[in-house]
């Protein structure tokens, strides 16, 4: 039977209309037409503006009849639209009063905050027409992708191994070997899935893929005169739309399908997809920024404003999204649900997440409604929620982020402690905590080890190769006189600033890289590695490459040959972690024997077995994991012994004895050159002297007892 609501009731020019439905917000295909729905708390009227795709001027402007408004929502069905070749926006009228926070201007055409596809920057790097009246153009998406039997993988958090990557950087370099038209795209990642599988990671964390404007940067590179970009994309234009310029098919408007096809294929290969989401601010910037959408629709609702009407800047990017306003909170929830449900996304990493816990006046909330809502949402229930637990306004919540038993954290303290230890500073007492999944930060609140996302490097800061090659940042190319980027790098150049031919220094650097990944992969919690660290990628000392579309960011695939030993070492360490459940416990250690093996779950050692040197000047530490305590004693694994010597001299380490009949085998020794520095799990050679070993200067040894 035909539904009555597919018949128009109103006419405007050539367009047939009907009262729409408020839900869902955005533009939705309905039988015979498109349902447009948009809300504004303070607007007095609204006009739907329709363009033919790419057209400079609108083909129609249809005012919402007053009877189509429900509460603060304007909703209308427009029939018989050629929705594939359509772009739409809105004009809103309302008060204009800076101090009151109202920025209505009916001369501006505004993008729908719920736009599922956004045109205007269809192909990466093509300079836009700045005279265009409508820069970022909302389009209508199909939501009928054929997922077959795919669904999010739901890998237990403690089993994850995360690879943090940038879509364009991964395959943009001509050496990537992907088809030219796939370079720097979602399709390019799909072509490189075999590489990710070989490395062994089981989750990719994509730096922002929501639509952004790479041209949002007016600086130039003082060295080359080249125009700088917003290359990383931590500046959202639209929260519901994938970045068109990241899709090989963006020019055809098929980015939605291309990204979904990538997710589906990654899932088929056992790899989860985590999105780095930026809800702390938008691309509209400060008072001088462009009016794209939110500012013209409901400035006062979407942004945190000072009593004088200026933007609060807790993000360091000009404005702050008003996340604990109930309307904005719902938008964030709608957005994450959309990505989880429609794109089968496995998890989210929240950029500057502490902002999400501030009230509309900027004060940190004890019980932030948004964070609580996300933690308990039924659709997001199995999604990983990862907080970058700090913001640019001085809030630092590593260990204290409001978690509701759900939120994991980027563990900045892990990064800092491991870096210090690696270069010969820091306290072994703290290192012991970090290696155990930071129970000092999380256990008291009943938060599991997987709460701790362990990393030594991430997109912010030095790459691992640069961490061991530079004492100071070298950000001149960013056009801010080297003032941008962090000064607290805890890096050490091993004796020379930058690249060198000195074989001793280069050998030490390789060893330090291996030390770092070896310690990372035997730490409880979730390891995260930065794209390219596995092949020694350098940014030439630049620790804030957000603005460069060039080799400072692009992964040079020839490094895979140049640094084959590093890749092999990473691969073996990842395989070792996967082979040993005792490295991936769900619960914290209890420091006792609760299975009757005669060994506590974890024991501490030093140059003497059973006697770690906890003094301030100590640079040595060793620990042993009892295999019978793996996964809380539910699985029997091998015993594992890890010795770390961060002294500048070699030391003899006495090794704890194993149960009768077991022997120590050498999985890794960073003090030895490749290929003897590591072994494929299962092929480890027997350790000659079972009672002790000489550990070279600044070296890590990992033994497996079986």
């Amino acid at each position: 039977m035909e539904r009555i609501d597919i018949h128009p009731t109103h006419i405007h020019g050539d367009f047939k209309l009907r009262r729409g439905k408020p839900f869902p917000f955005g533009a939705t295909l309905v039988p015979g037409g498109v349902n447009f729905s948009i809300f504004s708390s303070y607007a007095t009227s609204c006009i739907l503006v329709l363009f033919a795709k790419h057209a400079p001027q609108p083909m129609a402007e249809i005012p919402f009849p007053e009877e189509f408004r429900i509460g603060n929502v304007y909703c209308m069905v427009v029939f018989n639209l050629d929705y594939e070749n359509l772009e739409y926006g809105y004009r809103l009228d309302g008060p204009t009063n800076f101090q009151e926070g109202h920025w209505f201007d009916n001369q501006k055409i505004l993008m729908d905050p719920y736009a599922k596809i956004i045109g205007g920057r269809d192909i990466w790097g093509i300079p836009p027409n700045w005279d265009d009246v409508y820069q970022h153009r909302a389009r209508i998406a199909f939501d009928d992708f054929d997922w077959e039997d795919d669904r999010p993988l739901e890998i237990p958090p403690e089993d994850q191994i995360i690879y943090e990557m940038h879509v364009r950087s991964f395959t943009r370099h001509p050496s990537s070997g992907v088809k030219e038209k796939h370079e720097g795209t979602f399709a390019g990642i799909r072509d490189k899935i075999p590489y990710l599988k070989e490395l062994g990671v089981n989750a990719v964390e994509l730096m922002p893929i929501f639509e952004f404007d790479e041209f949002e940067n007016n600086r130039t590179n003082p060295e080359t005169g080249e125009m700088l970009l917003n290359y990383w994309g931590y500046s959202t234009v639209g929260f519901f739309a994938p970045k068109a310029g990241y899709a090989a098919t963006g020019r055809l408007g098929m980015q939605v399908d291309e990204l979904k096809a990538l997710v589906k294929e990654l899932h088929k290969n056992g790899i989860e997809v985590i999105l780095d989401v930026v809800f702390n601010h938008t691309a509209e910037g400060n008072e001088y920024g462009p009016t794209i959408s939110f500012r013209g629709i409901d400035n006062k609702t979407y942004y945190m404003l000072t009593p004088e009407g200026y933007y609060f800047n807790f993000s360091g990017c000009g404005n702050t999204l008003n996340c604990n306003n109930p309307i904005v909170r719902n938008m964030v929830l709608d957005c994450l649900r959309y990505w989880a449900e429609e794109y089968h996304i496995d998890g989210f990493r929240f950029d500057l997440a502490s902002i999400l816990g501030r009230d509309p006046w900027g004060f940190p909330l004890a019980n932030p409604p948004l964070l609580e809502t996300l933690a308990f949402d039924p659709i997001l229930a199995k999604c990983k929620l990862i907080a970058e637990a700090w913001d640019a306004g001085g809030l630092y919540q590593v260990g204290s982020f409001p978690a509701y038993g759900r939120w994991a954290e980027w563990n900045g303290k892990y990064r800092d402690a491991m870096r210090k230890f690696l270069k010969g500073n820091g306290s072994v007492g703290e290192i012991a905590q970090r290696l155990q999944g930071s129970p000092d930060l999380y256990a008291w609140e009943g938060r599991e080890p997987a709460t701790s996302i362990n990393f030594i490097t991430a997109h912010d800061g030095f790459t691992l190769m640069d961490l061991v090659s530079y004492n100071w940042k070298h950000n001149e190319a960013n056009g801010e006189n080297n003032n941008d980027g962090s000064n607290d790098n805890d890096s050490w150049n091993c004796g020379w600033e930058g690249s060198t031919e000195d074989p001793g220094i280069n050998a030490l650097r390789r060893r330090q890289i291996k030390n770092a990944v070896a310690m990372l992969m035997v730490s409880q919690g979730v390891p995260m590695i930065l794209m390219g660290d596995e092949v020694g990628r350098t940014q030439y000392g630049n620790n804030n490459t957000y603005c460069h579309d060039n080799e400072l960011n692009w992964l040079d695939w020839t490094l895979l040959e140049t640094n084959a030993d590093l890749f092999r070492f990473f691969k073996n360490c990842i395989a070792f972690r996967k082979a040993h459940p005792v490295l991936r416990n769900r619960q914290h250690f209890q420091n006792r024997d609760y299975v009757g093996s005669g060994y506590a779950d974890i024991t501490w050692h030093g140059t003497q077995a059973w006697n770690a040197d906890w003094s301030d000047s100590s640079h040595t530490l060793a620990f042993m994991l009892c295999g019978k305590h793996a996964k809380q004693g539910n699985i029997v694994d091998n015993y594992i012994y890890v010795a770390m010597n961060m002294y500048w001299e070699a030391h003899w380490f006495e090794i704890p004895g194993l149960p009768e009949g077991m022997k120590w085998n050498v999985f890794a020794n960073t003090g030895v050159t490749s290929p003897e520095d590591s072994w494929e799990p299962g092929t480890e050679p027997l350790l000659e002297n079972q009672t002790g070993l000489l550990l070279g200067d600044r070296s890590v040894v990992i033994l497996v007892g079986k």
């Binding site: 594939e84 795209t185 799909r190 055809l252 098929m254 399908d257 291309e258 096809a261 589906k264």
Partner: protein, 110 residues
């Protein structure tokens, strides 16, 4: 958009000429769906389709689903390199059997 349908023994050979997009896809679908009968063999000759939009690809997938539901077979031949690539990166190609030439397509269906 021109559509010609010929029968080669038990195979229905459909030749499409022109772009398939939101404006032409509904009429193509209307003419092709009736071909999907029990055990039908359909060969779509796309040699002269320069462009298929998102809506066009969806129409193809619908046709594939309807053919398979009736235990039929659908083969695409003559996809341009560009179209093949678009279908590949958007996941559509995974559903289809393809051939380079008409003869190859016929061989698959026989």
């Amino acid at each position: 958009m021109e559509i010609t349908i010929k029968n080669l023994k038990d195979i229905k050979v459909v030749k499409l000429v022109g772009d398939v997009d939101a404006s032409t896809a509904p009429s193509v679908q209307q003419q092709l769906v009736p071909l999907a009968e029990l055990n039908s063999k359909i060969l779509l000759d796309m040699t002269q389709v320069p462009y298929m939009s998102s809506a066009g690809l969806r129409m193809l997938l619908t046709l594939y689903r309807q053919t398979s539901a009736k235990d039929g077979k659908l083969v695409l031949v003559g996809l341009s390199e560009d179209l093949q690539d678009t279908m590949s990166v958007t996941g559509f190609l995974d559903f289809f059997t393809t051939g380079t030439t008409l003869e190859e397509g016929l061989a698959v269906l026989n």
